[in-house]
């Protein structure tokens, strides 16, 4: 596509940069293309169009923070010694000098106190990991709430869910490595989780720890997983995630000129490359500043791991907080029967709930498309309000997550707010069930009222803030019609489909299981779309406009006749 660059800043060159770098660059390009055929691949992608919106940046934060974590992680491996061999610490940190500890912990202290920039890199690694996981979660919320997960992007949604899972495991294996008192307490709990597994629990524990807890194998094994296995999988999945993004082309918000069939935005080279590349430096720089200024995981304060010691307020990193919260609030359910033990109190919060939540997340696109029967491709994003049930489902899940997470800090809440920890726990036991339901209902109704608000703006115009008083003494606000671009954007959405009726299904001759399934689906679809506001038809808009013109006219004649005729300055 040709672009009018007649007026573009001359420093940019009035003609797009050709291979003006001279013969050398051209010769190298020729050499490479004759062997790799890069020209064909680049022809399509060098000016690939990416749409612009702030929310598209969230996934970028995840990507760039992952790169930062890889870089800082390589630095740390140069000094970290993943060994549980007991040694006497002899480093720069006075309070622990002479103390017996594992080599892993001692080398973590060395990185912090004897290697220049070591503590910075450790803290950047930890902050980067937290930002990686947090931005993945927020990116996932963006993708879900705007409907970007719909066909053809369901598989990329699943890849994203797996990335979140792997990122979490990567985080756990990572913060367990320094072998300090806090991380050792986390590993101790993980040992308890494994032992609670039915039938094979104690075997799993003995195999993972190379014998009885804590043994001397867990740190080197976590290390292998943390720096090789999981990063390898993460890299592969990130690559697949990006390739699919390029293949599908990015979704875009509806607006004038932006349709399901096109993508409108800036070309990869130069604008998007510059913005994304520049953003990498900003993410990197932000993490560096955080690593330098904000203390995180000060392992020297906890001391080496000792199975007989623990600190009050021991908590995992925040992304593990919600299963830990469930672990705290679950009642003491254990079944003892036939000489065996079934630890529901561990299995439900740790072995059942996290995998279940992940499966629910992965299934969401398929559940929705089954209920709505929508099998079309979608490239235009939806505002959360225009899919009230979907939005409400996610807010319910977020509420469950948030309450569980808060339960993971029940001791801190009790201390800070001077409450009884028992009462907080009892409250949370109910709240994790009731909270999501309340959140669902409120969110759904809230979305629908926002839809009504949009409808009002389309039909009656926007509020100008101009109040007029009629001769009778009544007050009214002057409304004006929306600019066409805005009005178009508000109406650029699909009408919700009409679910099948029971009569239609019966009439179609379906019987047995098929009919029952279709009826269930129709019922769910009815609930899914119930009370949603559809966009006005052309006729309704026309009538409303007519009405508005009439009203405006009337209003103006009232202004002319009423006390406002001299203008507000008279009063």
């Amino acid at each position: 596509m040709s672009v009018d660059v007649s007026k573009v800043a001359t420093t940019n060159g009035t003609t797009p940069a050709t291979a003006k770098g001279g013969k050398a660059a051209g010769a190298i390009a020729n050499w490479a293309d004759e062997r790799l055929g890069l020209g064909t691949a680049m022809k399509k992608n060098i000016r690939k169009v990416f749409p612009d919106h702030w929310s598209f940046m969230l996934g970028e934060i995840a990507l760039w923070s992952f790169v930062v974590v890889l870089l800082t992680g390589v630095f740390l491996t140069l000094w970290f010694d993943p060994s549980m061999t007991e040694i006497q610490y002899d480093g720069a940190y006075d309070p622990l000098r002479g103390v017996h500890m594992s080599s892993a912990y001692a080398s973590s202290l060395d990185i912090s106190f004897d290697v220049r920039g070591g503590l910075l890199m450790r803290q950047m690694h930890h902050w980067g990991a937290m930002i990686f996981i947090a931005s993945m979660m927020i990116h996932m919320l963006r993708v879900y709430l705007t409907g970007a997960f719909r066909k053809p992007r369901e598989l990329n949604w699943i890849i994203g869910c797996l990335l979140l899972l792997l990122g979490t495991i990567e985080g756990f294996t990572g913060y367990s490595l320094p072998d300090d008192l806090l991380s050792g307490t986390g590993v101790r709990a993980a040992d308890g989780f494994m032992k609670a597994s039915p039938v094979v629990g104690s075997y799993m524990s003995f195999f993972l720890f190379g014998g009885e807890f804590p043994g001397d194998a867990i740190i080197p094994r976590f290390y292998a997983m943390h720096i090789l296995l999981i990063p390898g999988l993460l890299l592969a999945l990130v690559a697949a995630h990006m390739l699919l993004l390029v293949y599908h082309k990015h979704t875009q918000w509806p607006g004038p000129g932006r349709t399901e069939q096109n993508v409108v935005g800036y070309p990869m080279l130069p604008v998007y490359a510059a913005k994304a590349g520049g953003f990498f430096f900003i993410v990197f720089g932000t993490i560096a500043v955080m690593g330098g200024l904000f203390s995180i995981n000060a392992v020297w304060k906890y001391g080496p791991y000792d199975p007989s010691k623990v600190t009050a307020g021991s908590q995992p990193d925040w992304y593990m907080g919600w299963p830990d919260g469930l672990l705290r609030i679950i009642p003491a359910w254990e079944t003892h029967i036939w000489g065996i033990t079934l630890s529901w109190n561990v299995m439900i919060p740790i072995l059942v709930m996290p995998p279940l939540m992940l499966m629910i997340l992965m299934a969401l696109p398929f559940i929705e498309s089954w209920i709505t029967g929508d099998k079309r491709e979608h490239h235009l994003l939806q505002r959360p309000r225009n899919a009230p049930t979907r939005t409400a489902i996610m807010v319910a899940l977020m509420t469950f997550y948030g309450l569980s997470w808060a339960a993971g800090g029940n001791d801190i809440i009790a201390i800070k707010l001077h409450l009884s920890i028992n009462q907080i726990t009892y409250f949370m036991r109910g709240a994790v069930f009731i909270g999501p339901v309340i959140a669902f209902i409120i969110t759904r109704r809230w979305c629908i009222s926002l839809q009504r608000h949009d409808e009002g703006k389309l039909l009656h115009g926007y509020e100008t803030g101009v109040l007029v008083r009629s001769p009778e003494g009544g007050y009214a606000e002057k409304h004006l019609p929306l600019p066409q671009g805005q009005a178009y954007t508000l109406t650029a959405r699909d009408d919700d489909p009409t679910p099948e009726t029971v009569e239609e299904i019966d009439a179609s001759g379906a019987t047995g299981r098929t009919a029952r399934l279709r009826k269930l689906r129709a019922k769910l679809a009815t609930v899914f779309f119930a009370d949603n506001v559809q966009k006005p038809t052309a006729e309704e808009l026309h009538d409303a406009q007519h009405h508005a013109e009439h009203e405006l006219h009337e209003l103006e004649s009232q202004i002319a006749a009423g006390p406002n005729r001299h203008g507000p300055a008279d009063h």
Binding site: R116, G117, G192, G257, A332, L541
Partner: protein, 365 residues
């Protein structure tokens, strides 16, 4: 299967008639930097200045690296030392200024024309599909895998069997649990030298009279410090072995009014009356939920609370769970005094300590 742009009975259609017609892309607006050479020069200088400041920050980083020592002054500012602080600040500044500079360049000086690219459906064209399916079918037919079940099945069997080495090779990850979880070093006392209970950390034995009512002491078995006294090989209580023993043998002593104690039953159903000494009770310190060391004592109630998940145990009532997620009482250690008057263990715990596991039994106290 429905086509991507098909009219589906429930799906509606994509190309509906919009109530408001698409006004099309708004006209491109020239920026000040596009039309005013002065503005353009100014933006150019701004970008170069940002890059220049970044270079200064990098130099400051290098100066900090060579002038500040990380080990010397770790107490400074949030216990991070001047070195970490300066390195992080200047590195971050250098990086961010480059980022801001590049983005400023893109926004002010690079062409800002929005381009339109057409999308294609994700699926391949019908022709491509047909050719691909044909190619697969041809390949399969030529391999003869469908016509030669003997080859196919023997190959599947052989490859499937190769899964076993992958599993078997992991066997040596660790030993089988055996009865290890059922025993602690408390059972290693002898008739001549019953296992003394010593204070954790300072390893001194405890006279029953040392404790006042309400006192709580964290304890370990004497063998961890004095293995020879119990004919135990010293390497058995060093390094990793020490950690393993501590993870099972850590003990809590609590003295209370003897009248407060409600003696429960042991594994054989007999009373635990003789398990205490003058109101001193001994319980495992390892939580029966997921294994944290329990450490918070509610002095007035003889309740012990685990800081990890808040399971609360009543030490006056056989260590029963009074609150929280733990499903089993804390194991109690039967104690007595030796000839010198020091507290000792009568025997090992009569049940495994620590978190529950599948094959372990349970008995009512």
């Amino acid at each position: 299967m429905t086509d991507a742009h098909n009219n589906d009975a429930h799906g509606g259609e994509l190309a509906v008639v919009e109530p408001i017609p698409d006004p099309g892309l708004p006209e491109h607006q020239w920026r000040p930097t596009d039309v005013d050479p002065a503005q353009e020069k100014r933006a150019e200088r701004q970008v170069a200045a940002l890059f220049g400041l970044s270079a200064l920050a990098t130099i400051a980083f290098l100066v900090s690296y060579f002038t500040l020592d990380v080990g010397d002054d770790w107490t400074l500012i949030g216990n991070m030392g001047a070195s970490t602080l300066a390195l992080g600040f200047f590195l971050g500044l250098a990086l961010m200024l480059i980022g801001v500079g590049i983005i400023h360049w893109a926004r002010k000086l690079m062409a800002d024309h929005e381009m339109v690219e057409l999308r294609h459906p994700a699926k391949s064209s019908e022709e491509d599909r047909e050719v691909a399916v044909q190619a697969i079918n041809d390949g399969i037919a030529e391999s003869g895998i469908g016509r030669r079940p003997l080859i196919r099945n023997s190959l599947l069997g052989a490859v499937g069997l190769l899964g076993l080495p992958a599993v078997v090779l992991l066997r040596d990850l660790g030993p089988l649990p055996g009865k290890k979880l059922y025993h602690t070093i408390w059972g290693s006392g002898t008739a001549n030298a019953p296992m003394r209970i010593v204070r954790d950390g300072i390893w001194t034995p405890i006279l029953a009279s040392d404790l006042e009512i309400g006192d709580l002491v964290n304890c370990q078995p004497d063998a961890l410090h004095n293995p020879e006294r119990y004919d135990i090989d010293p390497t058995e209580v060093e390094g990793v072995n020490l950690q393993i023993h501590k993870s099972k043998a850590s003990l809590i002593l609590l003295r209370m009014n003897p009248g407060d104690i409600k003696p429960g039953k042991d594994a054989k159903g007999e009373s635990r009356e003789n398990w205490t000494v003058n109101g001193i009770v001994a319980y495992s310190k390892i939580c029966t939920h997921v294994g944290c060391p329990i450490s918070l004592n509610e002095r007035t109630t003889h309740h012990l609370l685990c800081p990890c998940h808040q399971s609360t145990f009543d030490l006056a009532d056989s260590g029963k769970v009074v609150f929280g997620p733990a499903g089993r009482p804390l194991p109690q250690l039967p104690i007595a005094v030796d000839d010198e008057g020091y507290l000792v263990a009568q025997s090992d715990f009569d049940e495994p300590v620590g978190p529950s596991f599948w094959e372990r039994d349970y008995y009512e106290r």
